[in-house]
Symmetry: C2
Subunit: 204 residues, 2 copies
Amino acid sequence: MSGLRARQKADRHRRIIEAAAELFREAGYEGAKIEAIAAQAEVSVGTIYNYYENKGDILGAIVSLEVNEVLNAGRGVVANPPANVGDALDTLLGIYIEHSLHYLSKEMWRQAMAISTQLPDGPFGQAYTALDRSLTEQIRALIARLQALGLVKQDIDGQALGELIFNNMNMMFIEFVKRDEARIPELRTAIRRQNRILVAAIGV
Amino acid sequence: MSGLRARQKADRHRRIIEAAAELFREAGYEGAKIEAIAAQAEVSVGTIYNYYENKGDILGAIVSLEVNEVLNAGRGVVANPPANVGDALDTLLGIYIEHSLHYLSKEMWRQAMAISTQLPDGPFGQAYTALDRSLTEQIRALIARLQALGLVKQDIDGQALGELIFNNMNMMFIEFVKRDEARIPELRTAIRRQNRILVAAIGV
DNA sequence: TTCTAAAATTGAGTCAATTCTGTTTTTATG
DNA sequence: CATAAAAACAGAATTGACTCAATTTTAGAA
């Protein structure tokens, strides 16, 4: 019935992702040749292309796993935010940023971001856009929660604010991954400073 | 003395850029083969790589020309801004956005942005980062001007505010070039809506 | 169990960016 | 104005992502 074929398929997917993740980590994205990934996954080159449209999509699958974890971690903050607008934002964005380099190197992020703008209609491009939207939505949800708690003015345009905060953080993160010597604490400090303007504007 | 070699060099640079610009326009970035650009520029493939590190750098040179024009156009607004904070911002950002598709197609922008994050240390990557900084700086200058005119609170953190506004606009522009069907008026409206929050916060 | 159509796999072949090496042109010096 | 060193050029060779036609494997009907 459901069996063999589906199981083999899932298994090959997993093997390809694991092989790619290992080689990307060891050799970098460019350094990891498709032939090497295929060999490591004990699969032929053609098969990889049966599962993923192109090399970027393999990286994309890995990045998606990571971002989904971040989204999950963020739920806790939205449900139970610190009782201070600035801290609440800092905590949520802090989770995004601190998680970001767990599995993915800066180089992998650079490649992933590049691919998502280069091929916005490819599988990964679309997935990445959706993930960005989910993150924006989560920030918007946090703002709504803070409004419910009476910490943020009721008449604030939550949608626009969420976009503003996400877009700024995302752009800062892009600059961060572009510079290998950039460090997370400085990134967070810079974002806090930018958000201070907003926090002052929206607090009750 | 200075002569022949330098002249030939400048001439070849120009021919390569012109050939590439024409082919990128006609065939798109991917569609424009290096061999074709070389043929059109009456130069060999090897010579192109003597002038530019890779295909992306050729596009980069073209993008830089465009962004520099935009920066020039922006100077006028900073020197003489509309007497209203929201309008002043909208006018400056409007210039950036309206100019953007003059010479460059969305596809060219996508490629250029992708390359600049993929190879941040390449010639174009560095140039692009510098251009972003110049644009941020110009927004900061506008804010300073508005402060001098008494339209913006004195105690506003102009640096952070400039970054916030630029980063948000830039991210919106990235999303804009990723969707072929996206239109400029809607982009400007969305950015105005986001900036409204800031305008409310910083006006005297 | 046996057979057949559909699905999946394979790896040699294609294509285009980039590199490399030998040649030509320019410069500057005696 | 001859010439050697330096700079630039040409295009053939390399490399690696991606394609495709042939082959193998699976599902399920008889």
